[in-house]
């Protein structure tokens, strides 16, 4: 086998594309700002610079491994250069760490600590620039940008949106939308993936914690929480709980301690979505109109499609997202009681997603002209609230969600992962609903990391061609091939973020391969341990459809398209 030598250790080359991967495989955590395995190699931060046995220095991220190479990652020269580069970055960075949203979670801060920077010889002469608060999803603080370009590449290469790019030259270089417009004036869909990769506080979540605290403090408000499927698998990351563990019980307990009146599960909303979307699919298959049917659960995707491919808007399912359905039904449910008790129901949804913050503001998601979900806060924000309140999350005993909307199927649970919506819908429309069916569907090729997954199932006497997409850039590619007539589908599921909501823009960051895998496994474990795995077999739904929802399905569960 071919190998290279790294700091006197022999490391086999096993298909790694760059020296950095080998160094990391060797157990050396070489610092980087601009290297991400899923983005193009950029080579700008120069933190990963190493020296070879001939004294040549190079950035290990952009060097191909050659058998017999001898690399040193810790020579006096390398240490000196790395430290000076970091000092240079810090010299042009604001030092307001204590008041920064990224305090304690910042790669720059972490590296300054690791490299023992105790003194910066350069003064920051930059003029302070204003924050961009135009987006409901993210906040851009140009003062904290270190120009690693991670957001630019993520937005362009992964998401195909390209809302951000570099402007100007030399020390005046900045990342900004074209013509220094605000984020709101761009095609930004609010997915928040830029914030996930941002190593500093230059792009952060637009936080709504204050509104939630105010609601909790208001005795007139019935504050109801709904918890999205993928939140429970990621929140533990912030409390030292093993990755991918289902923390739903602890989260419910923590929310009760924070003062939420009712705590429900968005998975229930997802079950509703499965019912409606299945119906819609069968109808469209019958009529042959507006095929393929595109899913509508992901607000990032819906906005992307509307902006970049308006001709496909009619193909998007008219269903509201699980969040939307849940809030509409819940508000309707509490309407009478609110009147009797003189209260106001206030729905806080806890989401893995920054785009959900935008979704609730869309008039087509309103009921009777009113906003249903009052506030969306992300996993990251609820973590901060729990920490603020001093709740020792990791020690909490599991508690169950409230009723009547606390029971959900495994089909609803897997909405948080790519392929999950499709899998749940296929379960619901399957003629035989048994364990074999479940296994067949899970093995049909709709699970896994692949950006564009395809499968074909038989519904009645018809073959149904299905595509499952994650990552908006991939959605763009698929739409192009549908437009070109080279691809034909009947049902297409799209999630804006790669791998789905488990890696959404509002989740705790540092998504290494281990995080990705453990959240994937975790969400399927939730499904496996559910009492009910077919959404249509959720007993609460049957009850709801038979009584409360009769005649109100369209009003509460579908988007109000005339409002557009």
């Amino acid at each position: 086998m071919d190998y290279i030598t790294i700091d006197h250790m022999v490391v086999p080359i096993e298909g790694e594309k760059n020296v950095l991967s080998l160094i990391r495989k060797a157990g050396i955590d070489l610092p980087t700002f601009c290297y991400h395995s899923e983005l193009s190699i950029y080579g700008a931060c120069r933190m990963c610079v190493v020296e070879d046995d001939r004294g040549r220095m190079f950035a290990s991220c952009s060097e191909q491994p050659r058998p017999g190479m001898v690399i040193y990652t810790n020579t006096p020269k390398v240490r000196h250069h790395r430290k000076l580069i970091l000092e240079l970055l810090l010299g042009s960075h604001c030092t307001s760490c204590t008041t920064c949203h990224k305090n304690g979670d910042c790669t720059l801060q972490d590296l300054a600590n690791r490299l023992a920077i105790d003194h910066i010889r350069f003064k920051d002469h930059r003029v302070e620039r204003p924050l961009d608060l135009s987006s409901p999803s993210i906040v851009r603080d140009p003062n904290k940008c270190i120009l690693c370009g991670d957001c630019v590449r993520t937005c362009d290469e992964v998401q195909g949106v390209g809302a951000l790019d570099f402007a100007f030259r030399g020390a005046k270089t900045e990342v900004m939308p074209a013509f220094n417009r605000t984020i709101a004036e761009t095609d930004c869909v609010g997915c928040g993936q830029c914030r996930v990769v941002c190593p500093t506080g230059a792009i952060t979540i637009r936080t709504n914690r204050t509104e939630v605290w105010e609601a909790l403090d208001d005795p007139k408000k019935r504050v109801i929480a709904q918890i999205a499927p993928s939140v429970r698998l990621a929140i533990g990351d912030s409390f030292g709980i093993p990755k991918g563990e289902n923390c739903m019980g602890k989260l419910v307990a923590a929310l009760r301690r924070l003062g939420f009146d009712e705590v429900y599960d968005t998975n229930f909303g997802a079950d509703l979505t499965v019912m409606e979307e299945s119906k819609e699919l069968l109808e469209r298959l019958k009529s042959g109109e507006n095929l393929p049917l595109f899913t509508s659960c992901c607000p990032g995707w819906v906005k992307y499609c509307e902006q970049k491919y308006p001709e496909f808007t009619k193909n998007i399912s008219t269903c509201r997202s699980p969040q939307g359905m849940f809030s509409a039904v819940t508000k309707e449910f509490y309407k009478e009681r609110d009147k009797e008790e003189g209260k106001e129901t206030f729905i806080v949804s806890i989401m893995p997603c920054t785009a959900k913050k935008g979704e609730i503001l869309r008039p087509d998601n309103f009921t009777d002209g009113k906003q249903d979900t009052d506030i969306v806060i992300t996993t990251t924000e609820i973590v901060k609230m729990i920490k603020y309140a001093g709740i020792k999350f990791e020690t909490l005993a599991d508690e169950a969600t409230d009723m009547p909307f606390g029971l959900a199927s495994g089909g609803g649970a897997i909405f948080g992962i790519t392929g999950g919506v499709t899998e749940a819908v296929l379960r619901a429309i399957a003629p035989k609903q048994d364990y074999t069916t479940l296994q067949e569907i899970s093995l049909s090729g709709i699970r896994g990391d692949i950006p564009i997954k395809e499968t074909t199932v038989t519904v009645g006497d018809r073959e149904v061609h299905i595509a499952v997409i994650n990552g908006l850039g991939n959605a763009g590619r698929l739409l192009e091939s549908i437009k070109a007539g080279t691809a034909h589908y009947d049902f297409v599921e799209v999630m804006a973020c790669r791998r789905g909501c488990i890696l959404g823009g509002g989740q705790p960051v540092h998504p290494g391969p281990r995080t990705k895998r453990s959240r994937q496994e975790g969400i399927y474990r939730v499904d496996l341990s559910s009492n009910v795995r077919f959404s249509n077999k959720n007993p609460l739904l049957t009850e709801l459809y038979d009584n409360f929802l009769t005649g109100k399905e369209h009003k509460l569960l579908h988007r109000n398209l005339s409002e557009e």
Binding site: I41, Y42, G43, A44, C45, R46, V49, M57, A59, C61, S62, Q64, K77, H80, H81, L84, I85, L88, L89, G91, S92, R121, F122, I146, L147, G149, D165, F166, F168, R169, G170, A171, K172, T173
Partner: protein, 623 residues
Amino acid sequence: MKISNREALTTERLNAQKEMERQQVRILICAGTGCLAGGSDRIYARLQELCKDIAHISVEFGKEIAHVGIKRSGCHGFCEMGPLVRIEPYNILYIKVQESDCEEIFHETILQGKPIERLLYHMNGVTYTAQEEIPFYAQQTRIVLKNCGHIDAENIDEAIANGGYQALEKALFTMTPDEIIQTISDSNLRGRGGGGFPTGYKWKQVARQKETIRYIVCNGDEGDPGAFMDRSIMEGDPHKMLEGMLIAAYAVGAQEGYIYVRAEYPLAVKRLQIAIAQAEQMQLIGDHIMGSDFSFHLHINRGAGAFVCGEGSALTASIEGQRGMPRTKPPRTVEQGLWAKPTVLNNVETYANVPLIIMNGSDWFRSIGTEGSPGTKAFALTGSVKNTGLIEVPMGTNLRKIVYDIGGGIKNDEQFKAIQIGGPSGGCLISTDLDLPLDFDSLKKRGAMIGSGGLVVMDIHTCMVEVARFFMNFTQNESCGKCVPCREGTMRMLEILERIVNGNGTLEDLDLLQELGETISDTALCGLGKSAALPVLSTLKVFRNEYEAHVIEKRCPAGNCQALRKYIINPDKCKGCSKCARNCPVNAITGKIKQPFTIDIKKCIKCGACQENCPFDAIVVES
């Protein structure tokens, strides 16, 4: 006329030569950017007007009866002496011609063939009538620039009459692509853009790629301050470069090419557009060139003024419509260049050498220049030298010959101090380097580089710290901003240099400069970044005493740094007229009338207004 086969080119050439011979007198007015700025367009218009009244005079080439041809040529190279007018067949070169001289030129020289003494070049008491005898030209070896200044750059016939496209014909019809690449490899032609990478090897790498769509790109983004070699070729003999690109395309199997020219070179763009249009019309560019199976299409792409776009990967990104930023390599441009296809990227001068090598063979080319760097190199000679301009000399020519023999020595016969070679990426050479042969390898050994070929001569009145600051300012402004060492590091180096020239530097600053310079050189992403610190590091090494004078004594030994100047009034010369005091904007000068005045150093802002206004030269700068 279309050239649809080999023979047609020969016919065309003979016709074009015949036409040129009919012009009994040819007036070549330099229409390079420098002379145009000096008003050569008005000279052209005036001479045309004067000539139009004579019978059988044509001002347009190609007419039946043409006795006098008035041409706008490309740069003659002797820019210091512009506007230049060359008159054939006498080979007279008139210098610093004004519109008012036209009448005399017309009557004396054009009609009677008599030279006008006062418009000729004089040096050391000798008057030079013929251009070729002027030392500036006589000491050069003009191969690539041979036609520059001698032909009408906007007329393809004149290029063809001078052997244009003959090398292409030879390549297309008598050589295989492999043979062409072999010839170029054997010639050891090295890239004239600065890196000195062997051109033949580059072509070979592109030719052996699996991908069959390939591109030819010409780098005409000459951004070094003071460099204008490529511009002169594009303006003066565009067809030579186009021919080189065509041969390259045929050799590597490319179907399409791009010329990336700076938008600041409008004339070069115009001349290239004309040249391509004319070549297309004659089937020398386009489908089935000269009736062969070889087709090649050429586009011009204007750069928006970024220096970094001269870097290969930034240049291709810019053509693609992306922000011009260098990317990491591999993949290299030869593997994945423009639109991620294999790409031959050479600069203007390199392409212009190709037809010569194809025509005359690799042995001929190797007979010029040095073993490791054969051929010639064009340099833009500027700064404190008598004859600034564009020169071409064999590789390996030493600085002494360039500065003293061709350049005529230092202006005002001052003492030579240093020469900055290779622009902001290069280094400083000093008097002990005067006998250093200028070629790729010996300069590299010396820690400098040829770069694109800018030579800025400096005399003892040049402050080397200020020179370093100037280049650092350039580099910082032109840094693409991508990698941290270049973006932040050059900004900090500039900050320190500004501090030093303003008299606020410390000895620690010198160490920090060195430290920053080394980190930038070792860790920057692209070639421009890696060399960004060279002007500072090389001056810091050679002229450390000057830096130390600035930071320790707060003194600029060259008397150049304004903030460090100390103005004093010589009491012996001062007549006490008070003119200085009246012109001082900060009231720093006081004194009694008819008695010597004095300057309060603390108040003085070193603007120099007193010195300018003193009628008795009593105010001096102490250094």
